[in-house]
Symmetry: D2
Subunit: 341 residues, 4 copies
């Protein structure tokens, strides 16, 4: 069975497994107080040129979003997100479960628009009843977005400045951060990216790890007692070493970015196949997610041999389907898909 279902459909990059083997029986303290976590943090600080960064390792994306959002917001604040943002749509209300409203703005190719954001903020504070409304305390965006698109440096800068102006925090969901930063369409270096955020996370699960996301406060502003907050959110891993070892491996010799490049190369190849096969392309993107419109019987037929994922109904008889490449995607699998199309 071929699989383009998502970027978490196989295990870990071999270097990670190797490292887990090598370090397996070395005793270390729990909860992140191990030497692997320390080393991994140092490497991430270096990779993003933020020597004063506070870093904490968590297990998964939804968990990371919820812990960060709830830890940073005041109770009366919500988080602004695009209507297609992961927290708005596909986290089963996990953010609301922490008591905070997701304040949805329209998505444009998955992205927030800085002008619309400004208009919303101006209207909010001009509204004489805003004390009865949810205050915008944070802006959440994904890089790349859930639709595989990228904010330009100018776009991210504009949003970052608005956040400063309105005393909001800018939180960037980097579940697929590697795939974004190595895309030829990106005009941001890791250092520039980090400098614009108040907090972001470096996704491991979708970029070669078994699990794990690294929360980075590039300017050293991690809230006091963050470990306890993490524990309270049921998000503190006992064997924190599992996260430390993985991120240490991922950021040794910039492996993280290296393996991300494979996903982008394979995505380019995939797009070429789609064009060659005259598939009905719904959306081509500069990162590792590509979207087709498939007629429903064709979709069923194809699914017998290929795993890919449902995105949304297109019309009565067609479905938008997502094909994803990753660090692990091979040329062979794309060739095989080509034969099936």
């Amino acid at each position: 069975m071929l699989s383009f279902e998502n970027d978490y459909n196989v295990g870990a990059h071999p270097r990670i497994l190797e490292r887990l083997m090598q370090t397996n029986l070395e005793p270390q303290s729990g909860y992140g107080a191990d030497r692997f976590c320390e080393s991994a943090k140092a490497r991430i600080r270096e990779a993003f040129s933020c020597p004063n960064a506070d870093i904490f390792f968590l297990t998964g994306g939804t968990q990371t979003n919820c812990v960060v959002i709830d830890a940073l917001l005041h109770s009366y604040e919500g988080v602004v997100a695009a209507a297609t943002g992961h927290i708005a749509l596909h986290e089963a209300g996990a953010v609301e479960y922490t008591g905070h409203k997701v304040l949805e703005l329209p998505a444009h190719d998955g992205k927030l628009d800085a002008d619309e954001l400004r208009a919303y903020l101006e209207a909010f504070y001009a509204d004489e009843n805003h004390d009865h409304m949810v205050f915008p305390g944070m802006v959440y965006l994904s890089y790349p977005t859930e639709l595989g698109t990228l904010y330009s440096k100018a776009e991210l800068t504009a949003i970052s400045q608005l956040c400063k102006e309105y005393h909001m925090q800018l939180f960037v969901d980097g579940a697929r951060l590697g795939y974004g930063l190595v895309s030829p369409a990106s005009d941001l270096t890791p250092a520039e990216f980090a400098a614009l955020c108040d907090v972001f996370y470096v996704g491991g699960t979708k970029v070669g790890a078994l699990c794990g996301e690294a929360v980075v406060f590039p300017h050293g502003t991690m809230p006091k007692h963050f470990l306890t907050i993490v524990k309270q959110h049921s998000a503190l891993m006992a064997k924190g070493r599992l996260l430390g070892v993985q991120f240490d491996a991922l950021f040794e010799d910039r492996l993280y970015f290296e393996i991300s490049r494979n996903a982008i190369r394979m995505a380019e190849t995939l797009k070429a196949v789609f064009r060659e096969k005259k598939c009905s392309i719904w959306r081509e993107t500069p990162t590792n997610q590509q979207f087709l419109v498939l007629e429903d019987t064709e979709m069923k037929r194809l699914r017998e041999n290929v795993a890919f994922s449902f995105w949304e109904k297109y019309d009565e008889t067609h479905t938008v389907c997502r094909f994803v490449t990753s660090w692990a995607t091979t040329q062979e699998s794309i060739n095989a898909l080509r034969d099936l199309l």
Copy 2:
């Protein structure tokens, strides 16, 4: 550095790492819909003789406690626990964060007493104001307890019957379940144990896994939409295979119980060393946690070469310290400790 700090101070049992290697590049769907999870569930159902059990894999213990407790309780219900119960003391208020009160009863060697439980329940319902109080909706206990002790079959049966009588669910925290069931002091088979519970979890993190706990509803009563509830609690692992592969390995050929036995054997050896060295024993237990009272300067000296954990202050100049064995503890490490004592 020797370590008796806890039972999660090293990586995973080698068979688990092997299996992760073998299955690493086989694509599988996410969120637990993979063949490893299916296989692991079948093995667990067999090991506990509960063919109709519903099973769900989660990542860590506090997370499992919170998801289960919140999923099963009505909003107006709390969970009864011993004052020394993990949820009462060492989970940073994670249960309260889900909105439920932990109703603490006195602990006797870490255990709830069925007679006190009955007295509490009778008093609750006899209280004319109980509509203004938190209803007891569940009993939580740990097997083994946080102090390494075990409920006898008679004790667990008495509590289980009380739960039925008062329409409460019995939830057993099995973070160290293997170490309990294989202890010579245990008079419960896995099947008998499972039959007495409404829900329990099989701890992986402390018994050979990198992470992971298997929630078991032995009578097939997992709540509807449990996956969504898990997601809402930020507890759904994307690469569910990581949990499936591990539990599949742990329950192949009863490896789980096999490796648990090592911890018990090593604990017996450790107790013998403590006695031989005339250490001031605070508590000897039939499982894998042993407790000493150490004079504080002695404690500091010993800590230079051995990791063990703080339990509580004994008096101004002494501290209760915990020494833990696990599936990975070696005779060599105990010998080395003996030389240091």
Copy 3:
């Protein structure tokens, strides 16, 4: 100072104050276990022709919305509402604070559209990822809406049937219920209205009471231990008699509907004045809220003598303003406003 600011800008209908005086020193039990509450419930059951209704008195609208929504939804469910719904916009995120997402659909004159609702529900269940999304467990709508409009019997019936079809509860916010049911534009009797709802509340605060809303489960489906749930939500009034006496007075001789008619008559007069004065009308409604577009300096001038409320910015130099009548509005006040326009 004239006031058309809202329908809660004065105290209570004189009959309520009278009744409070008469009953003041009669001892009664607390928390709703008093004879006034019993009598009020009987009268409300009669007024809405639902003899088996369960009824509970709460203090305010937001509180009522939160208690009802949280008590009736499963944790993984959200509540569908129009984007202009009170819970979506003007309750400071109080519903999200209880852990539930408000699932916003477009508002048409403040109303949900049944066809759009059906389309949303069909898309939700057709979405292969809906287990990762918030389930629609309830539909919330306001009668009249926040914009003063009314659902027709056909519209409410269509939504009610959709709710049954999709196993959702229909909850109607009746903060201004009296003003809706007595409007000549309403084609619903109280009995027809009640029969279509799973739960609704009869607003007291905006229709003559000092405070208080009566939650009605017309089909007798109030959740078990609702009093405890109310207490847990900090919403149980110690002197429940305060609510009982007021609703008892309001539903004696159908006073509630009687005094609601005054608001509608005065609203008609107000609309006539606006038309006569060639005001820039933003929205005329069949109930007690009317909306003008005022030029900002004109708005400021008028505010020196009249209280009315900000609705939203219309453009750079104009504001939409709301003028509200109530049971207490007098012809004299409208005449005075006319002189000022």
Copy 4:
């Protein structure tokens, strides 16, 4: 029917009803932005000699406790209370519903002991695992306590200093504050009392109001956006005037303290009757709650003519019962009770 059931069994002090009548039709803005609230705040500041106090009016006691505790604590903090404290026992878990643990210490006649509090705090911070525990962020106590007892000035001062030392807030539940401060057993003036608290509330519901509690931050430290926090907790009253008018009346000419004295005088008379009748006294207190042990058949017989409240089971055949006086208790009712005993 005689009633000594509680101190909220009748309506309001006549001066309050009068004032509600007088002000009834004067239009005022909602949500506390009315002239009555302003005036009431000024009077309360004067009564407690805290000219910089921030004051906010809420509706009921449990609500006030929850709003204050949740608004002031960090998410990882809990509130320390006596095991008999109202928030620990009789609020249906409303504080836990806000996500915070109530950290229970032993009660001595309903009171916290400063030495035990210090011992708990020292042990907490000495515990090497305290990052996995709930931090004590606030001390909650009631004045008078739920058992009618009073902290002495020395006792309250000791606790207040501990709070400062350990960076905790001191919150005093003054549901019956009047009855405490006017008790001859009290050695605290209102000014001294206020100066020792970070926040307290002046109970209205139990001291002459229909409803209402005044939250006082004597040192002007009310959190930013408190109104929005109140709204988010469903606790913002639309007709805030109802609270303003009542507290304005209660603090005009120190009526609040004046009427509190009646409760104390009547309690003294009641105690004399109990002694004269050789009742089995469980607890005599210096405030308005007195407790008897009644044989169960005697209790049933007495209940035919007198309302009083269940406190707790004493033994198989006896019950502790509470008799409460209030601002409204008359000598006649006590005479009548005497005849029945």
